[in-house]
């Protein structure tokens, strides 16, 4: 067991190094540098560009730049190109903003997708199942920002509440209740939008898993020995159908950064996705690279944890 864990961690560390090298190479080889963000600015002289390049070590060979990045990152004094703030602190602040959105969206996704997927697998071919299938395809086919615009207009006109950004400006002196209410309204719509895609995908997955499991012999055996239907479905079938979802858990984590770029932009939510987007616009290499690395680290930790959980949950798996 311990050997298995250690080997897994070792493999993932090697993967991580390769990911970081690859990301570093892609970002640095692509044309477009921090010094070229504003090429039409007449005050930008050739000497200034030289100075900027030297200050950011952009003249050094790639592997030296990689070394500088890693050294500063590990020492914790990696600075953003744009405003010279420590990168890790910046990301941590944004991470705390993204977290409630991610948690709420995940909760909504699971609370809707699992009951929905299970019931449509049990009622296979019925109108309910067909409508559900159609509806989930309908929702994933919507361009996200189009649906968000429609929902924003609808919510604002119907309920007359503000939904853009994290909180209403100027409510700092209001009562705690008003503030909490305000925060919840701001949180609902972006979380719902992020969840919609997840619900559509996950419920399809649950449905097909459940369908496969209820055709197995042991389900027939359970029924044959006279167990009531609830027992058969929720104790025998569901447990086995849930196994693959342990592995999905790990692959969901990159969505914390990637999936939220669009919605954080639409709802002006100051989270990690938006930090990444702004960093891309200003060619802020340290922020882009560190965000990418953090996403990779989170993914690898997620897959490691889900591998271990899988091994614990499924007695057929041996180390």
């Amino acid at each position: 067991m311990l050997a298995f864990i250690l080997r897994n961690i070792g493999q993932r560390l090697i993967l991580l190094v390769i990911v970081s090298i690859l990301a570093h190479t892609i970002v640095h080889l692509a044309p477009g540098e921090p010094s070229l963000v504003d090429p039409s600015n007449p005050r930008m002289k050739a000497e200034d560009i030289e100075r900027i390049r030297a200050a950011f070590h952009l003249d050094d060979p790639l592997h030296v730049q990689y070394y500088y990045w890693m050294r500063d990152l590990l020492n914790g004094d990696l600075k953003s190109f744009k405003d010279n703030q420590p990168v890790l602190e910046k990301i941590w602040g944004r991470f705390l903003n993204s977290l409630p959105l991610f948690i709420l969206a995940t909760l909504i996704t699971w609370c809707v997708a699992f009951p929905f997927g299970i019931s449509s697998a049990l009622n296979r071919g019925s109108t309910y199942d067909k409508t559900g299938t159609f509806l989930s395809y309908f929702l994933i086919s919507f361009p996200g920002f189009f649906l968000s615009s429609l929902l924003i207009i609808f919510i604002v006109q119907t309920f007359d509440v503000p939904v853009i950004s994290m909180r209403t400006f100027g409510l700092e002196d209001a009562s705690a209740w008003t503030q909490i209410n305000d925060r919840i309204w701001h949180l609902t719509l972006p979380a719902l939008m992020t969840a919609i895609l997840g619900i559509a995908v996950l419920s399809r997955f649950v449905r097909s898993q459940m369908q496969e499991v209820i055709l197995h012999d042991y389900i027939r055996t359970a029924r044959a020995k006279g167990l009531d239907e609830d027992n058969v479905i929720y104790k025998h079938a569901l447990r086995n159908a849930l196994l693959p979802f342990i592995t999905m858990f790990g692959l969901m984590i990159p969505g914390l950064i990637s999936g939220s770029v669009i919605f954080e932009q639409i709802f002006a939510w100051p989270g990690m996705g938006r930090l990444g987007y702004d960093a891309i616009l200003s060619r802020d290499f340290p922020v882009i690279l560190t965000l990418n690395l953090i996403a990779a680290v989170l993914t690898l930790i997620g897959t490691l944890v889900s591998d271990l959980l899988y091994a614990l949950a499924d007695p057929r798996i041996k180390f």
């Binding site: 892609i26 361009p143 207009i153 055709l215 770029v261 996705g273 990444g276 891309i280 996403a295």
Partner: protein, 321 residues
């Protein structure tokens, strides 16, 4: 076919492809979507023919500043606009945008561009996926140094899966010069992992089949065995994921357009018409709703068609019906 087999009725009544077609046809939504997509393909080619060239039949780029933001079915005004700038049939079928350009002409031009983005991106991802997946599956046991080919390629897939996809696409698209080809290539190069995994899984079983052994015994070159004999047998799941991939690529392009990194003007796509129309949603709702609902409809059609194909190609889903 010997006579006895035919007489004994032992021959299967329907060929596999016919059986698939029957299953596909029974799914009414999938059939409808398939027909819609075929029609759309024709429309895209027609649109390309009508709007391309130096002197197109319908010019999507004509700016008519006196006829801005007219609602659909507005009749064109002959007093303020020159005769040669008139829209098709003298009517703005879908209205005009904030430059007075005919939305119908722009949507028609965008059909071709949007579908091209979808198909080329998926073409690239399928090609890379089949190539790497096929190599990993077929040469899985071959050792290069201390690693097998299979380990090497599948670890690479794992590495690619570590990147947050949309963030990676955005980074690459933003750093490279804006061009429609870059967008297609980048979407393609970041979405091949699924295909590679599917093809590898099929190849693990295919490489030990008798016909592969027979082909090898005839000294047929290995690339021919892989790409002419094995790949066609592993195509079914790839086809399904490719159909859905086109839908995803169209959605990704529209999301990039929203962020300002999509296909750049003067090329029109559904995505950038929608993104440009969004700020005008109260004054000219048709500029948002027409491209938005078009994308919804087409992406939905691709998804439903893919679902129908999945059912048709997967015997497991079929038998339990």
């Amino acid at each position: 076919m010997p006579d006895t087999l035919v007489q004994d009725d032992l021959k299967p009544h329907v060929s596999p492809s016919q059986e698939r077609w029957n299953v596909f046809r029974r799914n009414r939504w999938a059939l409808l979507s398939g027909l819609l997509l075929l029609g759309l393909l024709g429309l895209a080619l027609l649109g390309k023919a009508l709007t391309a060239g130096t002197d197109p039949v319908i010019d999507s780029a004509t700016v008519r500043l006196t006829q801005k933001m007219l609602p659909p079915f507005s009749v064109y005004n002959q007093d303020t606009i020159a005769k040669e700038d008139a829209p098709l049939f003298g009517v703005y079928l879908l209205g005009t945008d904030d430059f007075g350009r005919d939305l119908f002409a722009r949507m028609l031009e965008g059909t071709f561009v949007s579908l091209t983005v979808g198909f080329v991106a998926v073409g690239i991802s399928v090609t890379v996926g089949i190539f790497l997946g096929g190599l990993a599956g077929y040469y899985g046991r071959v050792k290069l140094g201390f690693l097998t080919v299979d380990t090497l390629i599948m670890r690479f897939v794992d590495i690619m899966l570590c990147f947050p996809t949309f963030f990676l696409i955005l980074t690459a698209v933003a750093l490279l010069p804006p061009s429609i080809y870059n967008i297609m290539i980048i979407i393609g190069l970041t979405s091949w992992m699924q295909t590679a995994r599917l093809v590898r899984a099929d190849f693990l079983a295919l490489r030990d089949q008798d016909y592969v052994l027979a082909a090898r015994s005839q000294a047929i070159p290995e690339w021919r065995i892989i790409f002419l004999h094995c790949v066609p047998n592993a195509m079914a799941p790839v086809l399904v994921s490719a159909t859905i991939g086109v839908a995803t690529a169209i959605l990704t392009e529209s999301a990039l357009s929203y962020l300002g990194f999509g296909v750049q003007p003067p090329d029109a796509t559904w995505g950038n018409i929608l993104a440009d129309g969004r700020p005008l949603i109260f004054d000219a709702p048709w500029l948002t709703f027409i491209p938005g609902l078009t994308i919804l409809l087409v992406v939905l059609a691709f998804n439903l068609c893919g679902e129908g194909l999945r059912e048709a190609f997967d015997p497991k889903l079929r038998e339990s019906r």
